[in-house]
C-alpha cells in the first residue's frame, strides 16, 4: 500500500513540471483527501483591469488537488488521468491572496474515482470556486493489498 501523508502528496506535486512552475504547495494530506495552495502571481492575471487571477490558473490548482486526492486514495496503484472536470466560479479571487483548495476523493469503483474540490482566498465564508469530476486510475495490485 502506498504511503499516505503530506510528504508523499508534495512529492506527487513536485514531479509535475507545471505545478513546480506555479509553486503549488501541499498544505495537508490524509487518505483520499488533500489541500494545497497556489500563491498569487502577476503572471497569472486574467483581467488586467482588476488584477484578478485567470480562471485557467484556478482550474490547474483544482485539477492538481483533485488528482492528488485520487493518488492518496488507498486503492490507487499509481497512474491516473482526469476524465472530466466541471468548475463553478462563485466569485473573483481577491488580487494578492493565495488560493487554497481542498479536494476529497469520495468514492472509487475499480478504475474510476469521483472527486469534489472547493477553493477559497483569505475570505473563507464563500468559496471562490468548486469543482466536481471523475478520474481514471490504476488500482493497486493484489499483492499490495493488506490481507483481509
Amino acid at each position: 500500500m502506498p504511503q499516505i501523508g503530506k510528504a508523499e502528496a508534495q512529492k506527487f506535486v513536485d514531479r509535475l513540471p507545471h505545478c513546480r512552475e506555479l509553486n503549488i504547495r501541499v498544505e495537508d494530506a490524509a487518505p483520499a483527501q488533500v489541500s494545497m495552495s497556489l500563491p498569487y502571481d502577476a503572471r497569472l492575471i486574467g483581467d488586467p483591469d482588476t488584477g484578478v487571477i485567470h480562471g485557467g490558473a484556478v482550474s490547474v490548482l483544482m485539477d492538481t488537488c483533485a488528482g492528488a486526492s485520487v493518488r492518496m486514495h488507498p486503492e490507487n496503484g499509481g497512474a491516473l488521468a482526469t476524465l472530466d472536470l466541471r468548475i463553478d466560479y462563485m466569485r473573483a479571487a481577491k488580487p494578492g491572496d493565495s488560493i487554497l483548495a481542498e479536494a476529497k476523493c469520495f468514492h472509487v469503483t475499480r478504475t474510476v474515482a469521483f472527486i469534489r474540490v472547493r477553493a477559497w482566498d483569505s475570505d473563507t465564508s464563500v468559496p471562490v470556486a468548486t469543482a466536481s469530476g471523475a478520474f481514471t486510475f490504476t488500482p493497486i495490485s493484489k499483492s499490495e493489498r493488506p490481507p483481509a
Binding site: 486574467g46 485539477d63 466541471r86 468548475i87
Partner: protein
C-alpha cells in the same frame, strides 16, 4: 447614384489584427501559457505551442489537465469577446476610429466550465476553436474543441457559461 468606395483590404486587415493583438497581449495569463491566435476573417484558432513547463504527467508524458482546461477557457473567452466586438469594429466608421487606442470591451466572467478529457494531451502543439452557441444580453454559452495532429481526433472539448459585462 454614388457608391461608397470599398475600404482597402490592407486597412481592414490591419484593424482586425491590431484589435486581436491588443486583446490578447493585454492579458498576462495568455502570455504566460504562450497562447497565440490565428485569424481567418472572423474565425479564430487558438494555438498552444508546446513547452516542457506545460507537462502534468512526466511518465507519459502528457500536458497537465489543468493546462488543457485553461487553454480551452482562454480560447472561449477570447472568441466571445472577439465576436461581440466584431460588430462594433465592422459597423462602419472604421476609418475615423483609431483602433490602436480605442478602449477594448470589458471581459466576460466565467460562471462554469465543464471539460471532457478525451485523450492525453501529447507533448506537441495544440489547437482550439470555440463557437458561441448563444450570446444573450446577460449570459453566453460557448463550446470549444481542441485537437493536436488531426482535426477530427479531439483530445478535449468543453462547454462554458459566461456572465456578459454590463
Amino acid at each position: 447614384m454614388s457608391r461608397q468606395r470599398p475600404e482597402p483590404v490592407q486597412a481592414i486587415k490591419e484593424r482586425r489584427d491590431s484589435v486581436l493583438r491588443r486583446m490578447t497581449n493585454s492579458i498576462p495569463y495568455i502570455q504566460f501559457l504562450g497562447v497565440e491566435f490565428e485569424r481567418r476573417g472572423d474565425e479564430l484558432t487558438a494555438i498552444l505551442p508546446y513547452k516542457d513547463m506545460l507537462i502534468g504527467n512526466p511518465e507519459l508524458p502528457a500536458i497537465h489537465g489543468g493546462v488543457t482546461s485553461a487553454f480551452l477557457e482562454v480560447a472561449s473567452i477570447t472568441e466571445l469577446t472577439w465576436s461581440n466586438f466584431w460588430e462594433v469594429m465592422e459597423s462602419g466608421g472604421g476609418a475615423e476610429t483609431d483602433w490602436s487606442t480605442e478602449p477594448l470591451p470589458p471581459l466576460p466572467k466565467t460562471i462554469d466550465f465543464t471539460v471532457d478529457f478525451l485523450r492525453p494531451g501529447l507533448p506537441r502543439d495544440a489547437y482550439a476553436r470555440a463557437r458561441v452557441n448563444r450570446s444573450g444580453r446577460r449570459y453566453a454559452s460557448v463550446h470549444v474543441e481542441a485537437w493536436q495532429d488531426n482535426r477530427s481526433r479531439l483530445f478535449a472539448q468543453a462547454t462554458g457559461h459566461f456572465l456578459m459585462p454590463e
